[in-house]
Every structure is written in C-alpha cells, then in structure tokens.
C-alpha cells in the first residue's frame, strides 16, 4: 500500500529517500510537501478531521488514476490528521516517472484531487476561537484542467 493516513508526524527527507530508492530507473522524482501556515496570524494549532475508511479509499483511487494518466512508475501519499502546530508537515505526495513533465503533472494532479476530493476538513484554532477552513473556489476550479 502506498497511501498512509496517520496522526503521527513523519520525516519528509526520509520519505523522499525511501521513495527515490524504489523509483530506480525512473529518471524523475517529484515531491510536494504541505506545511501548516499561519496565514491570518495568531494560529495556535490546526485540527484535521477525516473520514476513516473513505479517506484511504479516496486517496487510493486518486493515486491509481494519477499512475494511469501520467505513466508514473510510482506514487505515494502521506496525509496526517489530528492536531498540528504551525509549521508542521501536514502531508506529502511523491511521484516518479521516466519523464520530468509526467512526474510534475502526476504530483499536481494528486494535489488538486486530494484537496477537494479526499475527506479531510481543517479547523484553525486561534485566541479568538476555532473556525473551519472554507473550501476555496480556486481549488475546485483547479480540477477542471485535468
């Protein structure tokens, strides 16, 4: 299985090294790492809720779709849930392909789909209280290009 949904933090460097090893002969490896940002200022922490079972299934489906579409030789998704401090790693996707354009497109496709199609919900907790992060129209629009 190449999809991990976990509460624990992880080391992105270790993940990249491990993935690159499995991608021998691929030429191109792309990684995307998402980090909690304190956009408005005053973020105490972020909470990520998810839908156990459906999350793994949705990510698995998106992964297979990316592999097929872009002739990837490998793809991996790691996504955390639970409580995250500012500047913590939230998630990572990794893709490998013989050609760099495919590795890039595969990673962008995975990101666009998991943003709007994988059952995660973020909540930001500040001194003023907690607020669910609203989905962005631009994230929904990003799907239209695929």
């Amino acid at each position: 299985m190449e999809v991990w949904v976990q509460e624990a933090t992880f080391d992105v460097g270790q993940e990249l090294n491990a993935f690159a090893k499995t991608a021998e002969g691929s030429g191109a490896v792309v990684s995307f790492t998402g980090i909690t940002r304190d956009i408005a200022g005053g973020l105490r922490h972020m909470e990520i809720e998810h839908y156990p079972g459906m999350t793994e299934r949705a990510l698995g489906d998106i992964r297979l779709e990316a592999i097929t579409r872009f002739d990837l030789t490998g793809a991996r998704i790691i996504h955390r849930y639970g409580r995250l401090a500012p500047n913590e790693v939230i998630m990572m996707v990794l893709t490998a392909a013989p050609h760099r354009a495919d590795a890039f497109k595969g990673a962008e496709f995975l990101m666009d789909y998991l943003k709007s199609r994988a059952p995660f919900w973020k909540r930001e907790v500040t001194a003023d209280g907690a607020e669910w992060v609203a989905a962005k129209d631009e994230d929904e629009d990003a799907l239209k290009r695929w």
Binding site: M54, A118, W121
Partner: protein, 81 residues
C-alpha cells in the same frame, strides 16, 4: 443504515454517527426525513449546496440511490492537502 456527520455538520447535529431506520430511496429523501426531525438537523441541512454526500464511502450527489447502502455520510466541501 449508519449515517455519519463530519466537521461543522457533526457539530450542528451534535453527534458523529447514528443508526437510522428509513424507507428513503435517495439521499434527498433521507435528508428530508432528517430535517423533519429536529431544529439541529434543519440547521445542518438548510443549504444543500454547502454540503457533500458519500454513500458507502464514495462521493455522490443528493439524487443518488441509498437502496441497500450501509453508510451515508454528510459533510462540508473538503479541505485537505
């Protein structure tokens, strides 16, 4: 069937999942049944365009069949990544 709620839908309804016995054949019919129950359901389901639904862990729409479904989940648009 099991009905699950996530994020602010869960908060408005006040529970993460419940067992529902229903004759409803579509998601929309199930929603109407739930709305008729109590204010908290009415509040959660007041604007369906702000909601997403999954039947047996697959995203679908409100006109989808729920005949034979094991679980139906309601939640706001997803914000992963």
């Amino acid at each position: 069937m099991d009905v699950l709620y996530f994020a602010w839908v869960r908060e408005r309804i006040g529970l993460p999942r419940e067992r529902v016995e229903t004759e409803a054949q579509t998601v929309r019919a199930l929603v109407e049944e739930l709305r008729a129950r109590e204010d908290r359901y009415e509040m959660a389901f007041s604007d369906l365009s702000a909601l997403r639904v999954a039947v047996d862990q697959r995203l679908t729409d409100f006109d989808a069949s729920i005949a034979g479904a094991r679980e139906v989940a309601f939640f706001p648009p997803m914000t992963g990544g």
